[in-house]
């Protein structure tokens, strides 16, 4: 991987961290608000189904996780197990894809 790409990965992780900081706060506040009178699927779906705002919010959230976690994982694998090069990059790219697919599928499930 070129040096420039490595720098962009670092920048992507920094930016996604900022997005996540915001998303996690909103998510936690919503969570506390949502469970006030007990938790029910109907109540949650009532809030999310057909909502463009929640769809956009959780899509951004999922994508930020799909960027942030694999870049961090790449550093952890490299530093802990001495992994380098192509196989490492393919592995974390696969993890990124998996997080994105599973996450977006979950978003779709509560929005559609």
């Amino acid at each position: 991987m070129s040096t420039r790409s490595q720098v962009y990965l670092w920048a992507a992780q920094r930016l996604s961290a900022m997005v996540l900081a915001l998303c996690v706060v909103v998510h936690l506040i919503t969570l506390i608000y949502a469970v006030r009178g007990g938790l029910s699927a109907a109540e949650i779906l009532g809030r999310t189904q057909g909502s463009a705002v929640w769809a956009a919010f959780y899509t951004v959230f999922v994508l930020a996780v799909a960027i942030h976690a694999p870049v961090g994982l790449r550093a952890i694998l490299a530093e802990t197990f001495g992994w380098r090069g192509g196989l490492l990059n393919i592995t974390v790219a696969a993890v990124a894809l998996l997080i994105a697919v599973l996450g977006l599928r979950a978003v779709w499930a509560v929005i559609a």
């Binding site: 991987m1 040096t3 420039r4 490595q6 720098v7 962009y8 990965l9 670092w10 920048a11 490299a78």
Partner: protein, 237 residues
Amino acid sequence: MSTLEVKVWRGGEEGEFQRFEVPRLESQTVLDVVTHIQRHLDPTLSYRFACRVGMCGSCAMVVNGRARWTCRTHVADVTDGDSLEIAPLKNLPVIKDLVTDMRDFFDKWAAAQGQFHPTTTRKDDFARVEPESPERQQVDAGIECIGCGVCYSSCDVVSWNPEYLGPAAMNRAWTLLNDVRDGANEERLAAVAGDAGCHACHTHMTCTERCPKQISPTAAIAGLKRAALKAALKGKL
């Protein structure tokens, strides 16, 4: 007179601590202790020192778990009781006893483009650098490094990634990056960016905490991260 129980690393990469009893003196430094052992108890003990006053950077060792200059460390400041453990610097191959092979450490200074690349010749007038200019201030903050290796020995990222350039080399690169007389900043940024360079720093700040000169390599590395990103966005990396 009380005595100090001193455990000193003997051997190379493989080896063990050897116990010595050294008379406890007032205002005694750790280097005094090592010197006493070599002069009076075991002349085969190997260690390095030169200036004894914190100028040359050759006497750094790991004392009670922390890398320090032994010549400027008073025994009283590092031990509660009467025991000391003295080991060679970490993250560098041990040659013998308290002497490490500093080659990797200095090779990385060179790899980080730690050489000055002049843009003028001796025929030109000398450069005028305003002492108050932001660049000069950045240089001032890091220029006093004497290359003792305390930061390199203390850095977790070096221990996890042997290719990592380390705090001292990047501190040097940062002072040159801010040297308005230097003409090799593109090459320098390319040399210090990425996985083996500044972007691998975890900002643990151990280097900054342990530096005997109160330099902050962490700040230098943060500066390099920003400069490298800017260069990348401009297509210059």
